[in-house]
């Protein structure tokens, strides 16, 4: 291990001091505790209650070390290393007999009540307690007495509870209550009777509850879905991937065993997810193992009314036949849930005019605006870690707890900064968690939320303004004009017309050192977003430290805004035609209705999620051939003439662009099974870009902002550049000669992945050695090092990881931020006709809709996880009680919401914590309906049996049944004409 920790390029941490540990002199960073220093030096010091993100409380007493007064002191005194700040010239010993004996006795006491159940514990082999017990040399149990026992609770579909295993380190409640702001997990009882659980059995409410499985050093909280398809940690084949759900681009490690994904764990990225993920990220992987995954290319046979399975070659031939028809009018739909390469390949195939984005027009418009802003103005999105350092925040109409959950966790940490500042004044270090919280009490940094429905963050907000979208715009205009006055120096006497809310927001934003503006695309309101950008821009000119973040809606949707920008940059009249250049799904349907289209290629998009079903059925029936490239048999796929099976995020390589503008690379965890191919591979011969490198270079040449993507083309050169390949499997991977023996006793060769630097076997450099062997030290997927079997070992050796960031290869770990950060150009934010003015053109009886987001229901792929789907709320339209009274609606009434071509029926619920004159509906319906609708009462509860129903009249054509056995039933083109 390196003796000095000079790797961090962080300015504060450059300050180091030297201390003596076991007669060796080390240089460590200032301002940390002794435990953290020892761990980052790679020393083995056991601990339980300390956590790198949650600081120290000194409750477990396991990290005791001997500290000496000076070089003459031979007696020393025991100190808890997690509670001891490092100081210059400090002399400590980890190895001396007394502290070793203390640690052994301490863990013997901790272990007295531990049940004898490691073989049937999901944590076994991945257990911090096992590691620490061995490290403290507590080998034999000496306790002859009886063990105390506890009853377990049901905690929902995500976590198992086994209280007997508890060692009372308090990490779970500190994480759940203090870090995540949850309230339904608590500690009860006293002394050895401590009980960590809920007051009553029930589902844990926090969207971050899944992290308890990793936070708990032993097996009290374990991953329930993982337990259903369990495999020991050492048997999992792992690779570093990027989360495919929300737009934040959190880093994950996927664990695979015999062809199925078994679990997701957090992969630390210091700028994004840190140590924690949200439940959607942790449990939203089941779509990979789903029974509706497509395995073979399928063709609709209209004569025999059957579905034929094709070979890859036949499918390729058919694909090129469909796409290369001379008269052909070939249109393609790109996807938000696929890698950039795949959309790029499709764009190359059909050309810009024929390429449509797999999102609604309104969404595309917002993305376009965001990309333009990031590119042309000095505004660029902050990383989540930077957000945690801000000291005043304004959230504008985005329910981030549900649209970008990990961001909400960062905002919660942001709100602690006022308290940390107070503590720092008194000389208390930030990691002294208990002391800091005592000093801070209820002191929180200012957080103002403008929203249409009270959210989870309301509890830590200074001011939560639940307003109708039109009122929100009025408020934002007030804020903008106040800031403009400040900027231009035309500060007038206090204006009575300006509301107090606006004043207090502006005061807080202006007095902050690092103000932050958070917004998003959830409301689909271009006026709101341009206003937010305008405010952020003004604020940025007043205070260059101003931060901005706009959460988008899917893992990889921001780059679609770039595809649009790429087009408009080339357009003759730039800017003026912005609105008409948007090529989303609504424009697609329009085009399908007006033009005869030969071939429609749909890439990983379920159109039925975005558009009215009848309208879409009619439009699709006009198309001669529909080709769908997708992972799952969605409703859209069932309408196809040719289905090509695509790889999931676990089987393919590729880049994605997070809403932070960070281009990240995701590795394949396993080789594709059956005939699945990455979508770009299906298209590669057609577009004459046969290799990955060529495709990436084409994309980076085509789209100037994605130019940095060409660094990832180096993937193909990995083998030349690094002498060793990296093993995906652990050194202890078991049952190699038995796992397939039932099928064939002869062992087959592991599939060799020539493109990537990682092996589908245990051959190669093991994870823990990667830090020692440059330049491949940047792909640590498997967290293991000698004596540190559990995932907690991650917090050790952090220093050496930081060192790796300097190397050329850090892009594989850290990603690349693509938007310029230092541009000082100032442009006027493009003006769009506001939704409000659009509405005023129409009838007055139109009602404003809002989206009510939910992290378990909104992400398409996550819904295939049964555990998450069971947590999703019922689909309801919620209305303020006063509004309901005015409209003479009662709870349980069914209303029909309709626009010119869309109609949806939903049951009402009353919600007093939302804005008036506003109907909030689930995001999926909101994207179909748009922002303004009419409504009619449909029935009172007695008359309806179904809580919700599709009211659109059934089309004459039935969509294909969702089983492969049944024939595809779309009428052939001949039948229709």
């Amino acid at each position: 291990m390196s003796k000095s920790n000079t790797g961090s390029n962080n300015v504060e941490s450059v300050a180091t001091l030297s201390l003596t540990i076991d007669n060796q002199i080390y240089d460590v960073d200032k301002g940390q505790n002794l435990l953290q220093a020892c761990l980052s030096l790679g020393l083995n010091l056991p601990y339980f209650c300390w956590h790198p993100s949650m600081g120290s409380v000194g409750s477990c007493r396991q990290c005791a070390v001997m500290q000496y007064q000076n070089s003459e002191d031979i007696r020393g005194r025991l100190v808890m290393s997690c509670m001891t700040p490092v100081s210059e010239g400090m002399i400590v010993s980890l190895q001396d007999d007394k502290s070793q004996q203390f640690r052994e006795t301490n863990i013997a006491a901790i272990m007295t009540n531990h049940p004898h159940d490691c073989p049937v514990c999901e944590e076994g082999g991945n257990c911090h307690l096992q590691d620490m017990t061995l490290m403290s040399k507590h080998i034999n149990r000496r306790y002859p007495g009886k063990k105390r026992t506890h009853l377990n609770q049901f905690l929902g579909p995500l976590l198992n509870h086994e209280m007997n295993r508890c060692i009372s380190c308090y990490r779970c409640v500190r994480f759940y209550r203090d870090y995540c702001g949850g309230s339904d997990l608590n500690v009860f009882g006293s002394k050895s009777h401590l009980y960590f659980g809920r007051a009553e059995s029930g589902v844990l409410e926090s969207p971050f509850s899944g992290n308890l499985a990793e936070v708990c050093p032993t097996g009290v909280f374990t991953d329930k879905p993982f337990s259903h398809h369990y495999s020991r940690k050492w048997d999992l084949q792992t690779a570093p991937v990027v989360c495919p759900h929300c737009s934040l681009g959190c880093n994950l490690t996927l664990g695979e065993r015999s062809g199925s994904i078994r679990r997701v764990t957090n992969r630390q990225h210091n700028d994004i997810n840190g140590h924690f993920l949200c439940n959607t990220g942790l449990f939203g992987y089941e779509h990979v193992n789903h029974s509706e995954r497509l395995e073979w290319p399928l063709k609709r046979n209209n004569e025999r009314k059957t579905t034929d399975i094709l070979t890859s070659e036949q499918a390729q031939a058919l694909l090129s036949e469909y796409c290369n028809k001379p008269t052909g009018n070939c249109i393609a739909v790109g996807s938000v849930r696929t890698h950039i390469e795949n959309n790029g390949a499709l764009l190359k195939l059909v050309g810009e005019a024929q390429f449509y984005l797999g999102i609604n027009d309104s969404h595309a418009q917002l993305l376009n605006l965001l990309c333009k802003t990031y590119n042309d103005t000095s505004l660029s999105p902050m990383s989540l870690t930077e957000i945690e350092t801000c000291d005043a925040t304004l959230i504008i109409n985005e329910d981030i707890t549900h649209t970008a959950p990990r961001l909400a966790l960062s905002v919660r940490q942001m709100s602690r900064n006022a308290g940390l500042k107070q503590a720092a004044k008194l000389g208390v270090q930030h990691w002294q968690d208990g002391a800091v919280r005592n000093i801070a009490q209820t002191t929180l940094s200012p957080l103002h939320i403008v929203e249409s429905q009270a959210s989870e963050l309301t509890s830590i907000a200074t001011q939560s303004m639940v307003l109708h979208p039109t009122e929100q715009i009025v408020l934002l205009e007030e804020i903008a004009s106040l800031l403009d006055e400040k900027l231009l120096g035309t500060h007038q006497s206090p204006d009575e017309s300006v509301s107090n809310e606006a004043k207090s927001i502006v005061d807080d934003l202006l007095s902050a050192q690092r103000p932050l503006l958070l917004t998003g695309v959830q409301s689909r309101d271009i006026e709101l977003l341009s206003l937010s950008i305008q405010i952020a821009n003004t604020l940025k000119q007043l205070n260059p430290n101003t931060g901005f973040y706009a959460a988008t809606q899917a893992a990889n949707d921001l780059h679609l805004g770039l595809l649009l920008n790429g087009e408009s940059n080339k357009g003759p009249n730039d800017g003026a035609s912005d609105g008409s250049r948007v090529q989303g799904l609504d424009s697609l349907v329009e085009r399908l209705n007006t033009e005869s289209v030969e071939t429609l290629i749909i890439l990983e998009t379920d159109l039925y999620r975005y558009l009215d079903n009848t309208q879409l059925d009619n439009a699709l029936n006009k198309v001669k051939q529909i080709i769908v490239i997708d992972q799952l048999l969605t409703k859209t796929a069932s309408m196809a003439d040719l289905i090509l099976p695509a790889t999931s995020f676990s089987e393919s390589y590729g880049c994605s662009l997070s809403s932070e503008g960070r281009l990240q690379f995701s590795f394949a965890t396993m080789s594709p099974i059956k005939d699945r191919l990455a979508p770009w591979q299906w298209l590669s011969t057609l577009i004459a870009l046969p290799s990955y490198g060529e495709l990436v270079r084409w994309i980076s040449a085509k789209l100037t902002l994605l130019k940095k993507m060409e660094s990832f083309a180096e993937l193909t050169r990995f083998n030349e550049l690094s002498p060793f390949r990296i093993a995906r499997q652990t050194v202890r991977d078991s049952s190699r000669t038995a796992i397939h023996a039932v099928d064939d006793v002869k062992e087959s060769q592991p599939i060799i992945d020539l493109m990537a630097p990682i092996n589908n076997s245990m051959e190669g450099v093991a994870g823990f050695r990667q830090t020692l062997v440059q330049p491949i030290s940047v792909l640590p997927a498997n967290r293991w090092s000698p004596k540190w079997n559990s995932d907690q070992g991650e917090s050790r050796g952090q220093a050496s990881h930081d060192q790796a960031t300097d190397s050329l290869w850090s892009i594989w770990n850290k990603g690349i931020k693509i938007f310029p950060t230092s541009s000082s150009m100032k442009i006027t934010v493009p003006c769009y006709p506001s939704a409000q003015s659009l509405a005023s053109e129409h009838d007055n009886d139109k009602i404003r809709l809002g989206a009510s987001a939910n992290l378990y229901a909104d992400f398409e792929l996550a819904q295939y996880s049964t555990a998450l789907a069971s947590l999703a709320p019922e689909m309801r339209a919620s209305i303020h009680p006063e509004t309901a009274k005015k409209w003479q609606l009662a709870e349980g009434d069914t209303i029909s919401l309709y626009t010119a071509n869309t109609q949806v029926g939903l049951t009402c619920i009353l919600n007093s914590s939302q804005a008036k004159e506003l109907i909030l509906i689930p995001s999926e319906y909101f994207s179909r309906l748009g922002t303004w609708v009419k409504w009619t009462r449909l029935s009172t509860p007695e008359l309806t049996s179904e809580p919700q129903q599709e009211l659109a009249p059934q089309s004459s054509t039935e969509p294909m049944q969702e089983q492969l056995q049944t024939p595809l039933q779309r009428p052939s083109h001949e039948e229709k004409t």
Binding site: H116, G145, G197, R232, V742, V745
Partner: protein, 171 residues
């Protein structure tokens, strides 16, 4: 010279001793009960499967010839959904038996396993499972472990106190 004669005498003496080899297969040699031969999976004294699919045998195996897949029975017991031993790879080292925390996997003094087809040397759970407890008669893992299963609730295991009433105010 002298040593050569001594050697001759020693060898000649062997002509009159009993042979150590036996006429296998007509005659079977004695194999002690702890001889390391064919692997079996045993049951606890109550007749339930001992194997809890903890995978320790699998990871201890130096030739990686054991594959275990875990499942959970409705009564809460962990159990092997499948248990495969590839005897064509097995070296009868006994590490699996040593690693087993529940005395489920045991090696027996049976070595007559030869097959013409190598595929037949792949034994699955039904081939491995025997109906008795094998060499260890009394051990029942779930009686010792703190994990609750149907018919053995929390506090019923050996050396356990009754579950704590969290709502009690008594110290």
């Amino acid at each position: 010279m002298l040593s050569q004669i001594r050697t001759l005498i020693t060898i000649l003496k062997h002509t009159f001793t009993r042979a150590d080899t036996v006429e296998y297969p007509e005659q079977k040699p004695y194999l002690s009960p702890r001889y390391r031969g064919r692997i079996v999976l045993t049951r606890d004294p109550d007749g339930e499967e001992r194997c809890v699919a903890c995978n320790l045998c699998s990871v201890a195996c130096p030739v990686d010839c054991i594959s275990v897949v875990k499942t959970e029975k409705p009564d809460g017991r962990w159990e092997a959904e499948s248990f495969t031993v590839n005897f064509s790879r097995c070296i009868m080292c006994g590490f699996c038996e040593e690693a087993c925390p529940t005395h489920a996997i045991q090696l027996t003094p049976d070595v007559e396993m030869a097959e013409y087809d190598r595929q037949n040397l792949v034994y699955e759970k039904q081939h491995l499972l025997i109906s008795g407890p094998g060499k260890y008669h009394n051990y029942n893992f779930y009686k010792v472990s703190g994990k609750a299963i149907d018919g053995k609730e929390k506090g019923d295991a050996q050396n356990e106190l009754a579950p704590i009433n969290v709502r009690s105010l008594l110290p």
